[in-house]
């Protein structure tokens, strides 16, 4: 797909990562790791429409910015019915007292201009209690159909400025859309914005598809399909929706693929004679290398962000556990030692944690641990949670939750790595196997 944001201008001045003028007061800041978070109250009035065609957009942009921020669980929006001031000029001085009176600690103002198919969005962020603008505003320009991305860019800048965390709203998720009962479930690859908007289908429901995984540049997807009657790995170009099967020998099954950080190599599982091991393959030449060689089940490999190591699951100890090995294969170190079984490890984009699925005493959990297996933290518990994927900032995890029984269905959820803010992701049908894209450029 063509980039929707043609340019990212700093036209309103530098977005400096410095705090407002020295004040006795604490700067506007959310430290996410504090035990209890009181959501920060903010206001985002309807943006100023600077052209006749921008009226609806001015409202919609502000709504998406508000939804992004409140969706983190870290922010609380002050409803417009409480406003004392209105913002009628993007460049006029803000009447801080009016926003302070309704306890809006942060104020986001914006202006939007639509000319033909071109959209220009400006915004400013104010620390109301310090009575100062944070940074000097930003503007984004692009196409009208890319308007949601611009709202996400605005919200990302506000989120990053206030939390100190990396942005993640301007990202997409590829997942498996599911319809039908358990014994006749139809699966299709689908792609959507991180918040469930703009769903598009990438395959039809004629064959089972599993576990799509984004390339590091977000332009391609690896997935497993039964198109040939047997599980094989395909690579699909999102823009053209063209796909090709990766080389595999007759009589084998291949699945659980992931890209290396360079995008040149695919690591995956290959089953031959009932035994499943991990291989890597150069995606262009099709040359593959065997990385594990045991009679155990070795699967679900995931690279470290620097590409030097691979975390994977193996039942070589008798039950599913997590291991780390060099990306070229060789000796693996077991890292999971808690009660129960561990699978589907995914290395965080920050490199500091592994997210996993844990099965213990008939329950499933999504959890995180450090690479040495320490500081295990279970974030969820249910009848069946599985398949975590990381937001590009390493702060939020998305996964699938299947409900119990004959009427059971699968839904995507997201959760903060603190275990807070568990919430379903709104999709048109059921969803499983999410894979979060990198931040869009």
């Amino acid at each position: 797909m063509k980039p929707l944001i043609a340019s990212l201008c700093m036209g309103l001045g530098l977005w400096l990562n410095t705090t407002a003028p020295a004040q006795a007061q604490e700067p506007l800041r959310i430290i996410i790791d504090e035990a209890i978070i009181e959501p920060l109250p903010f206001a985002v009035p309807t943006f100023q429409a600077e052209s006749a065609a921008a009226g609806q957009m001015a409202n919609d942009l502000a709504r998406v910015v508000a939804a992004d921020l409140t969706g983190t669980g870290l922010f609380r929006e002050i409803p417009s019915s409480s406003y004392i001031s209105t913002v009628s000029d993007f460049n006029a001085a803000v009447r801080y007292a009016d926003w302070k009176a309704i306890n809006a600690q942060a104020l986001v103002t914006g202006a939007v201009n639509v000319q033909g198919n071109n959209l220009n969005v400006k915004f400013r962020l104010y620390d109301v209690f310090s009575g100062a603008e944070l940074g000097s505003g930003l503007q984004f320009s692009g196409t009208v159909e890319g308007w949601r991305r611009m709202a996400h860019k605005v919200a990302d800048a506000v989120y990053a400025r206030i939390t100190g965390e990396g942005p993640y709203f301007d990202s997409r998720v590829v997942y498996v859309s599911e319809t039908g009962p358990k014994d006749d479930r139809k699966k299709r690859l689908a792609i959507m914005d991180y918040d469930g908007a703009n769903v598009q289908y990438l395959t039809d429901s004629g064959t089972i598809v599993l576990a799509p995984r984004f390339s590091p540049t977000g332009d391609r997807v690896l997935y497993t399909s039964y198109e040939s009657g047997f599980p094989r790995i395909y690579v699909l170009d999102i823009g053209s929706v063209q796909r090709r099967v990766l080389e595999s020998a007759e009589g084998t099954m291949s699945f659980a693929p992931r890209f290396s950080p360079s995008g040149q190599t695919v690591v995956f599982s290959l089953t031959q004679g009932g035994n499943t091991d991990i291989y890597s393959m150069d995606i262009n030449s099709g040359q593959s290398v065997r990385l594990t060689n045991t009679p155990a089940i070795e699967t679900a490999p995931s690279y470290s962000p620097d590409g030097s190591r691979i975390v994977f699951e193996s039942d070589r100890s008798g039950t599913q556990q997590l291991y780390v090995m060099p990306a070229t294969g060789g000796e693996a170190q077991r890292i999971s030692f808690g009660e129960g079984r561990y699978g589907t490890p995914v290395w965080s984009p920050r490199g500091d944690l592994v997210a996993f699925t844990k099965q213990n005493k008939g329950r499933f959990h999504i959890g995180v641990m450090r690479l040495d297996g320490s500081q295990e933290r279970l974030l969820t518990a249910s009848f069946l949670d599985e398949g975590p994927t990381w937001a590009p900032n390493g702060r939020v995890i998305m996964f699938a939750r299947e409900t119990q029984g004959a009427q059971g269905s699968s839904t995507l959820y997201s959760v903060d790595i603190s275990g807070r803010n568990l919430r379903p992701v709104r999709t048109p049908a059921g969803g499983s196997d999410p894979s979060w894209s990198p931040l869009q450029k």
């Binding site: 599980p231 089953t271 029984g405």
Partner: protein, 176 residues
């Protein structure tokens, strides 16, 4: 997020129309056998292709037994499973027109990738047993569906026990 409840209901409504999922390659073999030989049906009261025709796919499924079941997280064959496979081997050695795909399956209590690998172990265990009884390897293929194709949909052991299976699905026969 507000519309989540609505989408849940949609899936639930679709589930009401559930019916038993036929095994993927199963329906073909049955239909082909029955269709081709319909004219010879008067012979000794055996309707070719029907359950009382010992060379039919239906007979294989119902009388020989087309599936073996496994314990939780196991892929070793039970005594009952071996007895069923003995019958399958004998039948395949008699009815040499048929090829078979052995499908391995797991119950839903496991992660997707692991269950694919576990299903492959189960299918392979059945395949190796059949080969050990003289069925040529060239007539057998294996595939795993992991937990993707349950036949029973409740979430308790009564259903799980039937879903942990390796099913020998015939292909070919009279039409090949």
């Amino acid at each position: 997020m507000k519309r989540f409840v609505t989408s849940g209901l949609l899936v639930a409504a679709l589930a009401v129309g559930a019916c038993t999922n036929p095994d993927r390659f199963g329906a073909d073999g049955t239909g082909a056998g029955a269709g081709l030989t319909a004219g010879a049906g008067a012979n000794k009261g055996i309707i070719p292709g029907s359950a009382n025709d010992p060379t039919s796919t239906v007979f294989f499924q119902q009388s020989v037994g087309d599936r073996v079941l496994f314990q939780v997280d196991q892929s070793n064959l039970t005594a009952e499973g071996r007895a069923t496979l003995d019958g399958q081997a004998q039948w395949l050695l008699t009815n040499t027109d048929y090829q078979a795909v052995i499908e391995g399956h797991a119950d839903e209590q496991g992660t997707r990738e692991y269950n694919l690998a576990l299903g492959a172990r189960r299918a392979n265990a059945a395949q190796e047993y059949l080969i050990s009884k003289g069925v040529p390897a060239s007539r057998l293929r294996v595939v795993s569906y992991g937990k993707e194709r349950p036949i029973e949909i409740c979430s308790n052991e009564a259903c799980y026990a039937k879903n942990r299976r390796a099913v020998t699905v015939l292909a070919g026969g009279l039409t090949s």
